[in-house]
């Protein structure tokens, strides 16, 4: 779609959500105040694995202001275990430990009191008697282990072990000139929003509805709450008009919400749980993928990469959540942007005595992209070829779209060579090389990073079926509703929370575009879950794709009705009429017209002027089906999971202090193509913000455990997120290859920065270390590891 034809889409326009944030008027869950609210503090296990022998809450309950102490046994007696998508009935996940604590920090009791101060004081008085057990911490040990089982009833620590075989892998390996084997490791890190998780629940006895306010970003949240609490789905009302203070995947909060939901019903008072940072880091929905890849790559001497054999072992922590499925999303782009002909993929998810893993930005794609890009780098280094040349040799050409990859995805559109070239040009690559070499000549360690990545967006959840064939889920649709009132004013209704993606701006912009109305005059509301259109929540880089397209379709339905009403009243067929900014007039006689206000009045109040049999009012709903979805996998487990694929090329420049191992990211260019941008400022922010998040994952961020299972990274002084000093003034260059599958050619953009940056930084650091003959194959590449490698020749610091 050419942007010259667009009024509001792709134009620089103020983001409407921003006004309330700059004036301090955002409404976060902590800001929701209900009279009579009780507050929860949790008692946490100090042991990574221990039998709970007894719990004595007598002293806590005697404290003034304490209302209840809840144990795991009580909640297990009244609630179902929380479902997580795999058929493993003996892996039971409850908000509180039942029988055994399975990680250091696991919640053992919940103390409920009149204030959070009293609840925390009382939590210290709860006496829990434990019998510590030998924990299993290392994921490779956990995979083999037969004695130390995190969930003994499951018979092993394996949650999932699957084999995929797409195409002629053995033949391609046999025919290739060379092969390489390598291991790379992605460390346990996550998104760590600045707002912790919070939930507030109130049971309304009059209506028998459980009202919930929660800082969530989660598909199926209401369904899980209903099934776990054993109350009907239409008895749960999630109030979605709260701002979520960052999520990028992790704000699930189902165990927190089950806990406060249960307590609110039991105590007949509103109950609130707001994590403090220690609870968040030790035991909230905080930790992300923790993955070991063993990969073999087959390639020719000219740099053509022919085939991959991948084994991925992922450490889910003690409770699976959605962890295993983060091994499945990468199937949708398992060869990255390259013409790799065939792939074997072995995916293993194990439990250990660590905090459970939750979805993180990209849902497993960033670790996988780091592995694929590592393969490219190693091939280039092995062949003595230029890294960019190897990529150019293998990138899918622009004339090959739609392009089917071995695992069944059709990549919708793209021009990868051009985006890569734009990024190199913006980085002034030849000069950058001279700068690096001059730095090296002065004795400094300098490196240029190169990485490309794909960002799958808008998926249909069929990966769940790939891992659990009893889950016949083949869509992940998204609805939008548009109402025009008797005054002619427009309200867009969405059914989700927002955590910074600017959905209100998205919806207003698209309605404005379709109806030729000023978006600033259009209201957008977040309906509660009993009032809202269908939603699967804003995960998977999907809202521009899915909510954008459903909004456009709803607007078109309204426009069609406006045209029909006008045709009836102007006495002309629709083909003879033209629509301009709400006014409908006769093409041959522009004076024969009806204004938007007149049409809206007729629709709502003048039924005698409506076409015969037409429904009164002016509103429309549309549920957008995932393009390319609706199919089960074929006999080779090939299936389209995501419809749209954005592309990015990253070019960072780093220098390393050899004395400390500190990496300075001095410059960073990113070229990106997410099709048509609905709001360029929003896209730019997410691209750069994701990239900064990726720098953190590459260099600083790690949830560190001691070998005995004690957790060491519970504060922001231990888990290091990039400050403004760690992120350069990123230069971003754009390209637009519209998607043929969406309303305006848009694709996803919330994840790509994070999907490419870790691989790019790894590439840069390894380029800087190359003159010393060193290479680091694990993330994060923290300074003490680099320093040890430079000065001692190994990373065993």
């Amino acid at each position: 779609m050419s942007s010259t034809n667009l009024r509001y889409v792709s134009r620089k326009r103020t983001v409407r959500e921003d006004k309330r944030f700059v004036t301090g008027k955002g409404k976060f869950v902590q800001d929701v105040a209900l009279p009579g609210t009780l507050h929860v503090a949790v008692v946490q296990s100090p042991y990574p694995r221990a039998e709970i022998l007894s719990i004595d809450a007598t002293e806590a309950l005697a404290m003034k202001g304490v209302r209840a102490v809840l144990t795991g046994d009580e909640i297990a007696a009244h609630c179902d275990a929380i479902r997580f998508g795999l058929k493993l009935p003996e892996v039971k996940w409850y908000p509180l430990a039942v029988g055994q604590a399975r990680y250091a920090g696991e919640w053992v009791c919940a103390v409920v009191a009149d204030s959070p101060y009293i609840a925390e004081d009382a939590a210290e008085l709860v006496e829990v008697d434990y019998e510590p057990l030998d924990p299993v911490i290392d994921p490779e040990e956990a995979f083999e282990e037969t004695e130390r089982l995190v969930h003994p009833g499951n018979g092993s620590n394996v949650l999932y072990h699957g084999h995929f075989h797409w195409g002629t892998v053995d033949e391609d390996f046999a025919a290739a000139d060379e092969t390489l084997k390598f291991r790379v490791r992605w460390g346990r890190s996550s998104t760590v929003p600045i707002e912790t998780f919070g939930a507030l629940a109130r049971w309304d006895e009059g209506t028998e509805i459980l009202d919930v306010w929660a800082s969530i970003q989660m598909p199926n949240f209401v369904e899980l709450l209903s099934s776990t609490l054993r109350i009907p789905l239409n008895s749960v009302r999630l109030n979605q008009d709260v701002d979520v203070g960052g999520s990028y995947g992790v704000k699930r909060g189902i165990k927190h919400s089950v806990l406060v939901g249960y307590l609110a019903r039991k105590l007949k008072r509103p109950v609130r749980l707001i994590e403090d940072r220690l609870v968040n880091m030790t035991s909230g929905d905080a930790h992300g993928p923790d993955r070991i890849f063993d990969t073999e790559v087959a390639f020719n001497k000219d740099g053509e990469i022919r085939s991959l054999k991948i084994r991925a072992l992922d450490d889910a922590g003690a409770y699976p959540g959605r962890a295993p499925f983060q091994l499945a999303k990468p199937i949708s782009a398992i060869v990255g942007p390259y013409t790799i002909n065939s792939v074997k993929y072995e995916a293993i998810s194990v439990v250990t005595n660590k905090t459970g893993q939750v979805p993180v930005r990209g849902f497993g794609q960033s670790p996988t992209n780091y592995m694929v890009e590592s393969a490219v780098e190693k091939v280039a280094r092995h062949l003595g070829m230029d890294r960019i040349e190897v990529r150019r040799r293998n990138l899918i050409p622009a004339d090959a779209f739609p392009y089917r990859i071995p695992s069944g995805s059709d990549y919708d559109s793209g021009d990868y060579q051009t985006v890569l070239q734009k990024a190199l040009d913006a980085a002034d690559y030849d000069n950058l090389v001279r700068r690096r070499d001059a730095a090296r000549a002065e004795g400094r360690l300098a490196g240029i990073g190169i990485a490309t990545c794909l960002e799958p967006g808008g998926g249909n959840n069929i990966f769940e079926y790939l891992m659990n064939p009893s889950a016949e889920i083949t869509t992940f649709s998204e609805g939008a509703e548009l109402r025009v009132d008797p005054d002619g004013l427009i309200t867009g209704v969405v059914g989700t929370t927002t955590s910074g993606q600017g959905h209100e701006t998205l919806v207003a912009t698209i309605i404005g575009e379709e109806l030729e109305m000023d978006p600033d005059e259009i209201r957008v509301v977040h309906a509660d879950s009993l009032n809202s259109p269908i939603t699967r929540s804003p995960v998977a880089s999907r809202m521009a794709i899915m909510l954008g397209s459903s909004t456009a379709a709803a607007a078109q339905k309204v426009k069609a009705k406006v045209m029909a009403i006008a045709a009836h009243n102007l006495g002309k067929p629709v083909e003879d009429l033209e629509y301009a900014e709400g006014t409908v007039f006769e093409k041959g006689d522009p004076a024969n017209k009806l204004s938007w206000k007149e049409i809206c009045f007729i629709a709502h109040k003048a039924y005698h002027k409506m076409p015969e049999g037409m429904e009164p009012g002016l509103q429309a709903q549309h549920v957008f089906q995932v393009p390319g979805g609706g199919q089960l996998p074929d006999e080779h487990q090939r299936v389209q999971i995501y419809p749209c694929f954005s592309f990015q090329a990253h070019v960072p420049y780093v220098e390393i202090d050899p004395k400390t191992g500190h990496v300075s990211v001095l410059d960073y260019v990113i070229g990106h193509d997410c099709g048509t941008q609905i709001n360029p400022d929003i896209v730019r922010g997410m691209v750069i913000g994701g990239l900064a998040h990726g720098i953190g994952a590459a260099l600083y961020e790690k949830f560190q455990y001691r070998p005995d299972g004690q957790f060491l990274s519970a504060t922001f002084a231990d888990y290091l997120m990039p400050s403004v000093y760690e992120i350069p003034m990123v230069k971003d260059v754009e390209h637009c290859t519209p998607s043929p599958l969406t309303s305006h050619g848009q694709k996803g953009s919330g994840e790509g920065g994070y999907l490419g940056a870790p691989a790019a930084i790894a590439s840069a650091v390894n380029d800087a270390l190359a003159p010393l003959g060193h290479c680091i194959d694990e993330l994060p590449m923290r300074s003490h590891l680099i320093e040890a490698l430079i000065n001692d020749g190994n990373t065993n610091a």
């Binding site: 103020t14 600045i194 960052g246 750069i688």
Partner: protein, 161 residues
């Protein structure tokens, strides 16, 4: 628990309230005064989300007790708006540069930026980095925040010319 009476000036209004000595300044602002613009991020002084101005100097309101603010002047994000409630120049610059996504860290960023621009009408990139170096934003990667502060500085210089 015993309580104390304190008088604090917040955004130009004087409040006399009774508080427990252990109540933090941020809880006092949020729970007693319903000024929920100031946010709690880490409660150990690293993230900067709870920053407020105390007698004109940015501080962490999670690391300070309300009773320590007795007799002093506090400015929160709500105090940066104009008298009619519309955004001030700094706040508008943050909007125009889209210097945020989820908005949670932004009150702290605005306070840090306000403190910078009160003293330094023409800050360099290093000055800006130093001013917001103690505030973590997880959404933006800081680039648009820096651009917003540069834009605000330019507009403030223009307005004061």
């Amino acid at each position: 628990m015993s309580t104390l009476e304190i008088t604090v000036s917040v955004n130009g209004n004087s409040y006399t309230e009774t508080v427990e000595p252990r109540v933090t300044l941020v809880d006092f602002l949020r729970d007693k005064l319903a000024l929920t613009g100031t946010h709690i991020g880490c409660e150990h002084g690293v993230c900067g989300a709870c920053s407020v101005l105390l007698d004109g100097v940015p501080i962490r309101s999670c690391l300070m007790l309300a009773v320590q603010a007795d007799g002093r002047e506090v400015t929160t994000v709500e105090g940066l708006t104009q008298e009619d409630g519309t955004p001030g120049i700094l706040q508008d610059a943050f909007r125009d540069a889209h210097a945020m996504q989820c908005g949670y860290c932004i009150p702290g960023m605005l306070i840090a930026s306000e403190a910078l621009l009160r003293d330094n009408p023409d800050p360099t990139l290093d000055d800006i980095r130093e001013a917001i170096g103690g505030n973590i934003c997880r959404c933006t990667g800081y680039v648009q925040i820096i651009e917003a502060i540069q834009l605000a500085a330019e507009r403030l210089r223009e307005a004061n010319r």
